[in-house]
């Protein structure tokens, strides 16, 4: 269990300077994610152009893993269709939870930097919160999402 596996450079960078970290007053969809035990809290905003995610942003506060994960999420789903984003959600879930996961994480791009979280079971919920929140936004769920 090496810390450098968890806090890789990409993650440290996205925590220090989160991308797409802004409100979106004209969002088509938004959802809340909140892990009360951690205190991780985020709001995810989505703008849709038909079936395509034309813009996505987030706000909130949390640990490095949750902030970096949300930042990476926004970069990776922008421009994708809703089914493609849902496919990414499934792949991320596998990356974070399955021991034998992902012979080829190449398809995940930068998101693969989060694979080290798997070795820190207490932190999986931090990395997955934004993805469940995105899922809730896309499905218009009104209740805040939690992964605790």
């Amino acid at each position: 269990m090496d810390l450098k596996d968890l806090y890789r450079d990409v993650i440290v960078d996205h925590n220090r300077s989160p991308r797409n970290f802004r409100p979106m007053p004209d969002a088509d969809r938004h959802a809340e994610g909140f892990n009360p035990l951690c205190g991780d809290r985020l709001t995810l905003f989505v703008k849709l152009d038909g079936d395509r995610i034309s813009d996505v942003s987030f706000q909130g506060s949390g640990c490095a893993i949750s902030v970096a994960s949300a930042s990476l999420l926004t970069e990776s789903v922008k421009g994708r269709t809703v089914p493609e984003a849902e496919q990414l959600f499934t792949s991320m879930h596998e990356l974070l939870t399955r021991d034998d996961a992902m012979a080829d994480p190449a398809g995940l791009g930068k998101l693969a930097a989060l694979s080290g979280v798997r070795e820190f079971p207490a932190r999986v919920k931090c990395a997955s919160l934004c993805w469940h929140t995105l899922d809730a936004a896309l499905h218009r769920e009104a209740e805040p999402v939690s992964t605790e």
Binding site: M1, L3, Y7, R16, P36, G62, A64, R123
Partner: protein, 421 residues
């Protein structure tokens, strides 16, 4: 089942400090490693560790004397009963209760408070009555009162705290009125370490005839508690925070109040006679101990009390105060670190935040260095809201911790800052 820790010299003068190196040898778990480094256990406010004597007392009980208590005429049942009731006497002496009838074994502080809420408060509360707690409370001293308020139509009033984390005495006085039915107060705050000067609060409550419950979960392990001197009506504490087993704790209750209270749970042991028409409840304390109790837990807790007493509660307090002072001094030197909770009188708890490093990342990074601290809201979310933080990191010390461990905490925090800040 008497016990003398290897480290304790009975009758030694109180001024002689604890020999921490010797004391540490009493605690087998302190010898283990975490992530290839010696364990540095600084999460004592959540749960302390156990000395070998406590662990052995439990296995010895199961190996030699176990049977159910109170009902059997056979030898083992008699032995188990003697050990269990002997433990009750030890706990009575520990808090200086007048009688063993005032010592009720429960699962822990949480259960003790719920018992009082449901069996004392609920039958006595009318709509519009008020229960007073403070902003410092652990959820265990908030939620049971919220529940009973919902059930009875009573109101929960909350004494504000100051920026240093002290319960505001003047606001407390202003809150008291002729509808106040109970004051429920932490003796020591788990989240901030504040030692509440409960004597002042009790005095004012008593002058108005208001009964007082103290949540002593964080106090009992670190200071001598005398319920008669305090003049409180209920005192609640947990075994596992004072070197005893989990799943066992004590509710001290003033006998006249306990006597008037209906039983909380029904079942075996709490009755004298049962028919379908009528049940006669058992006398104190058994009236409140339905079902087979945690016999081994009570025995282990008594051994833990004997261990603490042999070391000396005043010497324990002195050792922990020295660690607190040293940790406070060293932590304050870390750039970007803010200590949350700066009351002049504190138990050995330091809650803090570090700029640009979330407490959960601190927790993970410190763990990789073998340092165990608590991160999160510490079951005191109103306290976190008051200070405007989602969570804090909390290091809490016991008498078996060392200055070198404080240094390791500080070094590990530097690693975290270098990595993330």
């Amino acid at each position: 089942m008497s016990v003398t820790p290897a480290s304790a010299v009975p009758g030694a003068p109180a001024a002689r400090p604890i020999d921490v190196a010797t004391v540490r040898r009493d605690f087998p778990i302190l010898a283990r490693e975490v992530n290839g480094k010696p364990l540095c256990y600084l999460d004592n406010a959540a749960s302390s560790q156990r000395p070998r004597s406590v662990i052995h007392s439990i296995s010895r009980y199961y190996e030699t004397s176990h049977a159910n208590v109170h009902r059997g005429v056979h030898r083992l049942s008699q032995e188990a009963t003697d050990l269990f009731e002997g433990a009750r006497e030890t706990l009575r002496r520990f808090v200086n209760a007048r009688s063993v009838r005032e010592i009720i074994f429960v699962r822990g502080t949480t259960e003790a408070i719920n018992l009082v809420a449901q069996s004392y408060a609920r039958p006595n509360l009318q709509p519009g009555d008020e229960i007073v707690i403070s902003w410092l409370e652990h959820h265990a001293n908030i939620v049971p009162w919220q529940m009973v308020c919902e059930q009875s139509g009573a109101r929960l009033r909350v004494i504000p705290i100051t920026r240093s984390g002290e319960v505001d005495f003047d606001s407390f006085l202003a809150l008291l009125n002729d509808r106040t039915r109970l004051l429920a107060l932490a003796h020591v705050s788990n989240a901030l370490g504040t030692v509440v000067p409960v004597e002042r609060f009790i005095l004012e409550a008593k002058r108005r005839g208001i009964p007082v419950l103290l949540d002593g979960a964080q106090a009992a392990p670190h200071m001598a508690v005398d319920v008669q001197a305090l003049d409180c009506d209920f005192y609640c504490f947990s075994g596992h925070k004072m070197c005893g087993p989990t799943g066992i704790g004590v509710l001290y209750g003033r006998e006249s109040l306990l006597e008037a209270m209906p039983p909380w749970q029904g079942g075996g042991d709490m009755i004298l006679a049962v028919s379908f028409e009528r049940t006669v409840y058992n006398e104190l304390p058994y009236k409140f101990e339905a079902g087979t109790p945690h016999i081994a837990g009570a025995i282990g807790l008594a051994v833990a009390v004997e261990y603490l007493e042999a070391l000396g509660l005043d010497r324990i307090a002195a050792a922990e105060q020295a660690l607190l002072d040293y940790a406070t001094e060293r932590l304050q030197q870390i750039p970007g670190l803010t200590i949350v909770g700066t009351a002049p009188e504190k138990a050995a708890v330091v809650s803090f935040t570090v700029e640009r490093v979330h407490p959960h990342d601190l927790g993970t990074i410190l763990d990789s260095e073998g340092v165990a601290i608590r991160t999160g809201h510490h079951c005191a979310m109103p306290v976190m809201d008051f200070f405007g933080v989602p969570a804090t990191a909390r290091a809490s010390f016991a008498f078996y911790n060392t200055r070198a461990e404080v240094d390791r905490l500080v070094d590990a925090l530097q690693v975290a800052r270098e990595m993330l800040a």
